[in-house]
Subunit: 319 residues, 2 copies
DNA sequence: CTGCAATATGGTAGCGCTACCATCACTTTT
DNA sequence: AAAAGTGATGGTAGCGCTACCATATTGCAG
């Protein structure tokens, strides 16, 4: 029995007679044979690796996307090569260069705001590319996510609708996605004739609950008449909620709060916090599904998938 | 200039003359040459890969360890092969088998409660092995972590010390580490003559803030005289805090709360929550440092590193 | 100046697979 | 019955690197 036949039996069982295939299976099981992925990658000039690039490993949002990716690939021979860009375009370029040199089977990257070089690297990587977490008109290849602009606008419109007027935006680490949520906020405020730049409080610092508290204090110092806040994410929202408790500001009566992402704790909070639910785990799964389909030769007809979001109305805005 | 010399210049610069080394560097930079890790692994029968096995990717605790590992390796050519065991021993065995077959440069695994097969796989992997997140007398190879038993005991002793008596334990997903914290709780309670099995409320469900709320309700239904809780982790503690708010139970007056891990939000909460701070990021860094040292041939003389923990006393137990 | 080590460089084989093409048995078409 | 498929199997070369050994080149003792 030739080595090549074994190789085939393992990779394309359909092309080997059932008889031989069974013999091979027995031998494989007995020997505990596991093909060497390195040799495989070298010979086929194509590694069974998905490169995954995210800006943060600890941010719950990306952790969920990554979990979706891992879960989707856990039963396949495909390995995952993960990279942490730390929200840096330069770091992204470096990692992309590294990843591309390994001829991955697919690349999954967060966001659509790649640098020119990164974009070129993605275009010439010679494998399916899925950008995730956002939506937009011009993906490198495929795209799964949702509109942060619409999310921000919907959240803000909700606050306006239930009667808040002096609505602030509070955000940390203003990455491109945060900027789009801010733009959505601004669009909603301007449409209602409520916009005032002094309502916006941001910082380039990494987001945290503690920072949410500080930012609310800053926002109130600047604008004591504040009666609502759209928080760039749920960590900030939780910090804002705690600061309200501490300062004895009634929520939702005196100030309304809306978060973003709808982490589990928003529902459990007291008062429970209105938030924009996003489908992060599903984004990870879809990204893998789309990449796998493209590898298998049947590119999804829908290159851009908008998974949307859902406004979860809760006590923090129940005026 | 022979190919082998280039290979050497890149791997062992000391063995190549400075002149040639510089020439090679220029050429490498110009061509953007990146060595193929697959070919390298195949030829040297040893991959520049660290296998990392954790029970969860979204659990903040492991995410921080993983971040420490990534950050430590970001400037090295070493890749990371991550596996998610989903708290399953069987899954761990499967992944370990897979990883070991790839001859990784090192293996980092969470916990010390491997199955017999897993332990054997680790012992015969032929590479440095670092178990993380715990401490214990008998590591496979090296060990970095802290004592969950002591952590649980310290947390409970603190509650006793400040005057709480009917102190409950509330925990979800009772993995071995949680069990040890529970054992520490029990030891402290028994030593003070306060132990009562009805004070313990646990569930095998995955931990969440929402679950923390439910478990406090259960605990109070079972034991209305409860005046303190040691929570298995901070998510649960946050849920307990919110449930107290909702039920208008005064914290720390009526019930004292202690969490575990000291996530950022514990400090920001209102009232701020006492918690056992653990050094997760540092554990990740140390694990890499120890593994790297062992690979380089100078095994750390200290095979077992106890990074300890720190009780952060806050308002939630300030009686 | 010779001999011999020490150091620097290079040649060659082969790591374990798979792409590509060849072969063989068997069936269908003409 | 020959020709031409069709499907299963195998041989061979080579993927890009590094281990191993061979060969310069240099320095220095005798």
């Amino acid at each position: 029995m030739g080595a090549i036949t074994v190789s085939r039996a393992l990779r394309e069982p359909g092309r080997v007679s059932e008889d031989l295939r069974r013999q091979i299976q027995v031998a494989v099981d007995e020997l505990g044979y596991i093909p060497d992925p390195n040799a495989r990658a070298l010979a086929s000039a194509r590694a069974e690796v998905f490169g995954v690039l995210v800006p943060s490993l600890t941010n719950n949002v990306f952790a969920e996307v990554v979990r979706g990716i891992y879960d989707s690939l856990s039963d396949s021979p495909i390995r995952i090569q993960m990279g942490n860009t730390h929200y840096s375009g330069l770091e992204e370029e470096r990692l992309l260069q590294l990843f591309a040199s390994q001829r991955p089977a697919a690349l999954i990257v967060a966001g659509i705001d790649q640098t020119q070089l990164s974009r070129k690297l993605l275009e010439t990587a010679g494998c399916p590319v899925v950008q995730v977490m956002e939506t937009g008109p011009d993906p490198v290849d495929m795209l799964v996510g949702f509109s942060h602009f619409d999310g921000g606008r919907t959240a803000t419109e909700h606050l306006i609708e239930v009667g808040y007027r002096r609505i602030g935006f509070i955000g940390a680490r203003m990455d491109p996605r945060s900027q789009r949520r801010l733009a959505g906020y601004r669009a909603a405020m301007e449409a209602a004739g409520l916009f005032d730049p002094r309502l916006i409080t941001t910082t380039p610092l990494l987001s945290s609950v503690t920072l949410g508290r500080e930012l609310l204090r800053d926002a109130l110092a600047k604008m004591p008449s504040l009666d609502g806040v759209f928080c760039n994410n749920d960590d900030i929202a939780l910090g804002v909620l705690f600061e309200c408790h501490r300062a004895a500001i009634a929520v939702p009566k005196t100030i309304g709060i809306v978060g973003f992402n709808d982490l589990d704790m928003m529902q459990a909070a007291f008062p429970s916090v209105t938030s924009v639910r996003t489908h992060r785990y599903e984004i990870g799964r879809r990204a893998v599904a789309m990449a796998s389909a493209a590898i298998a030769g049947n590119r999804p007809e829908q290159r851009i998938v908008d998974l949307g979001f859902e406004l979860m109305r809760r006590e923090s805005t129940a005026r």
